[in-house]
Structures are given as structure tokens and as C-alpha cells.
Symmetry: none
Subunit: 285 residues, 2 copies
């Protein structure tokens, strides 16, 4: 079977692409490594998906998946290792199966760097990857921000407006002044401690009593999948139609850059699918 | 009160910007002409807003509004006529009130009706989009009011108090009585004629000698709102952060181009608000 549109990744961007591809009446395959977007499943509460004021991450991604399944998306669990083009078809090579499609939407998300000891245990219980989403939960409290990339600085500044105390741990050469409200500490994070929730961060520069720990890491280039795919600053380069530099290949969601947000990913997934549908109609035999 | 972020437009893009601005702890004003997005209210069934498989347009926009209100967005019904910048503040001039803000997110949607032949040539020389602003220029003269929405009726009534003659051309099913001073004509506008200024309106119901022609549409061309705003192919030009060419001014949704889709608008509204929040943090006194 040759699918019209093959989508790599089962997070919000991939699922949005899948729903919209089906609404365009295209044979649609979605290949995802995990049954659920791992980042979203860990989010305790999401408050900025417009129209659904409060919902847990696992419930939201569950609703998104149900929506895609109701539309007739073929959803397979596999991990795409490589994609190559032959004649006018794309072959997607998974760990278990191979698939063929006329167009591809890349929505693999981003991978993150090594975990801090205790990090995984406290996700949603004090550890967060999004100051925008979760900052308000720590209003008036002490928090730590561990920044692996300079983009974390503005997140720390935002937190300093609402939190009682912000300790900032740059894991790179800090070049800018962060203002009097951010306490810059030069130390490596070693361990996160607490009973039910985060209570302490152990670092090479001492221990810190905090209620929240924000972690901001770099995304890893997603160019390993597809030869010749253009990457810019570590992200897949797309135009406003979500087209990559390779004809027939589109990309959406976190793999295209920041901000890493659900609604942005959903909107981009929608546009990517509509662009793929246009591409199919323009390139009919 | 000076708001951090003022949002023009109460459709999905504007409401998404509002929710995300509040999640960033910004004082947020949303000014919308209608209580509901007129386009969305008319949609009987929406099936591609990810996570909500089937919903009517009016119910979806209602949920979006409730979400924004729960986040503490200040929501005012008014129609922004003009925006100008002085020092580092934006002044938004509505029909009824004026507002001040440090940043602006434009999400006015698009006007779905085509221009009348000659309309663009006579703007400011007899063609006007605001009876409140320009009505007095036509005191004692004959004018036409072309109304695409029922909101135009009160403007026609206002004109009938100061003008010698008011011809009203409803472009929808007129349901109300407009009183003896307004001459209702059922005809389509076809052409605006004159030498230096407006002299005649040609319609499918005959020709009318008028000095002024007022036009009331569901949306107004966005480039009339703000001097120097860059427009490309009829749409507000934005970058990937939804920034326009004017520092502190962002745009989202249908006004930035196609495809005209809800999720795309919501994603762009989110990014626009986050970019405005970044701008505010980078430009603090």
C-alpha cells in the first residue's frame, strides 16, 4: 500500500496533521515511536490549549489520539530510522516495518540531553520544562532554573516576576547580566530531592531549597532521518507553508524551532497536512 | 491604565493570544467589534480542531471566550479605528473609548467582501468607514451608507440626524424598520464616480447623487489601522515570531494570509502573545 501522506511522530503536531489529512480525504499513515507523546503525558495540568481551560497532559493527548482514530488515520507503533526517495515515492524504514508514501510530514519533536538524577521522578511534581506553562504554580515560591541554552535566560526573567526567589544555573558561558532579581549560581546540578514533591536541588555549588525546578535544554538536529534536509540552528527549516527544502517533505511542531507549545504545534501540523494535500493535487499523474 | 498587551480582534487568534498573554502574567486587553467571531458562529460543524472531534462553531467560540475570561482577560466591545505610537506607547482609538498599551497584537481577521469599484480611489475624498468620525463633514448633504452588517443601521440613523438625505443599502436581510429619515434601497453597489471627490454611486437599483459614501463591513483592511504597517499580497507581513515590521506590533490569524483555519490561527495567536511578552521583557525601563 502506498499512502498519500506519511506522518512521523504522534505528538500534537503529528496528530493535527493526521486529522487534517483525513479531512482532505487522503490515505494517511501515522508512525509514532511511543503510543503517547512522552512530554505531554507528564504534564500535570495544561491551561493554554484554547477552548479546554484545564486538562491533564495525558487526557489531552488521549483526546487528540481518539480524534485522529475517529477520522480513520492508520496509526502504527514503530520508530522511523531512515527515509529515502526513489522515483517519486518515499520509503520510510522503521525498526519493524517499511512504508511507502507520496508525501511525508516530519513531526518527531525534539530529543533532550541527559537527565539529572531524580529528574524523571519529579516531572509534574515540581520539575517542569516550560516556565510559561507552569510558572504560575510557583507564585511567591523559590525556584531553580537550569539552563543549557541562553534561551533559558528570558524564562528565568519571567519567573523572577512571579516567584519569591529564582536561582539560575547556566550550563554554558553566561555572557549577559540577568538583573538583580535573578540569583546566578555557577554550579552543576547533581540531584533532585524531596518526598512527594521537589524540596531540594543538590549542586556542585551547594544545596538549594526550592519548590520548583525548571529545565531548559537544546533540541538535537533532526537531520539524521533524511539526506539533504536543510537544518537551521539545529531545527528543520520550513517556510510559511511548513514545506522543507525537499519537495514533498513537510515539517511541523517542536522540530521546527521554538516556542515549544501545543497550539503552535497543532497549527503547524494542520498547515503541513493542507500543504501536503495541495502538493498531491498539483503532482497527480 | 496602560496595558502590557492590547489585542485587536476576538476570533480564535485574538483569544489564543489573550490566554497566552495572561499565562505570561501580562495585563491584557482584548478589543473586539462583535461579541463573537461572525465567521465561526455561522459554521454548523467543525471537525478539525484537534481534541474536540465535533462541535458547532458557536459552541467552540463560546468555549474559547470562556477560557479567556477565566484567565482574567479584560474584554471590551468596541471597534478600533486607528492606532498610533507616541514615545513607547501605543494609543488605540475605538469608536467609544481610547486605550493605551505597550505592545499590540493585531488579529482582526479578514474582510470577506470585495471592494467596490472606485472605492480605494476615493478614500478620504468622500468614502469613509466611520460615520462617527467623518459624519459632520457631510452636514446638510446627501450620503449613501452601504451596510454589510446590521451594525451599520445605527450609523445610518446617526447620519440621518445631520445629513439632508441618507440612502441605506443593506447587503444582508434587513429585519428592522429604520425610520422615515433613512431611505432604504435594495440594490448592490457597483461603482463610485466623481472628479476630485465622490459625486455619484452607481447601483443595481439606479444611480444616486451623493457627496459621501459610508461603508460598513465585518472587517476593515488592517493597513488602515496603523501607519507604516507592511502589507504583502494584501496580508500583514509577519516573520516566524509573528512580528510585523513595526517593533512592538505583532499579528496573527487570517490577517496574515492563508490557509484560513482555526488551529493555524490559534497557534499563531499563541506565538504572537509569547513574542509580545519577550518584547516587553527585553524593553523594560
Amino acid at each position: 500500500m502506498v499512502y498519500d501522506i506519511a506522518i512521523v511522530g504522534g505528538g500534537p503536531a503529528g496528530l493535527a496533521a493526521a486529522v487534517n489529512a483525513r479531512r482532505r480525504n487522503k490515505e494517511t499513515l501515522l508512525v509514532s515511536k511511543e503510543t503517547m507523546s512522552s512530554k505531554l503525558v507528564q504534564a500535570e495540568q495544561i491551561e493554554n490549549y484554547l477552548g479546554i481551560p484545564q486538562i491533564s497532559g495525558s487526557e489531552l493527548i488521549g483526546r487528540m489520539r481518539n480524534h485522529a482514530e475517529a477520522e480513520g488515520v492508520i496509526n502504527l507503533k514503530d520508530e522511523v530510522q531512515n527515509i529515502y526517495q526513489e522515483d517519486r515515492l518515499f520509503s520510510l524504514i522503521g525498526r519493524e516495518n517499511a512504508f511507502q508514501a507520496k508525501t511525508v510530514v516530519l513531526a518527531p519533536g525534539i530529543s533532550t540531553t541527559a537527565e539529572i538524577v531524580g529528574e524523571a521522578d519529579f516531572v509534574g511534581r515540581g520539575v517542569s520544562y516550560c516556565a510559561t506553562c507552569d510558572g504560575m504554580f510557583f507564585k511567591g515560591k523559590a525556584v531553580a532554573m537550569i539552563g543549557y541554552i541562553p534561551e533559558a535566560e528570558s524564562e528565568a526573567a519571567f519567573l523572577s516576576e512571579i516567584c519569591a526567589q529564582v536561582h539560575y544555573f547556566p550550563q554554558y558561558n553566561l555572557a549577559t547580566e540577568l538583573g538583580p532579581k535573578v540569583n546566578v549560581v555557577h554550579g552543576k546540578p547533581q540531584k533532585i530531592l524531596g518526598r512527594d514533591k521537589v524540596e531540594r536541588l543538590i549542586t556542585s555549588a551547594g544545596e538549594f531549597e526550592v519548590s520548583g525546578i525548571f529545565i531548559e535544554r537544546a533540541g538535537r538536529p533532526a537531520n539524521e532521518l533524511l539526506d539533504g534536509l536543510q537544518i537551521e540552528n539545529g531545527f528543520i527549516r520550513v517556510d510559511f507553508a511548513q514545506a522543507t527544502n525537499l519537495p514533498g517533505v513537510f515539517a511541523a511542531g517542536d522540530c521546527t524551532g521554538k516556542p515549544w507549545q501545543i497550539s503552535r504545534a497543532v497549527g503547524q501540523g494542520q498547515v503541513a497536512a493542507l500543504s501536503a494535500a495541495h502538493f498531491l493535487n498539483d503532482n497527480q499523474d
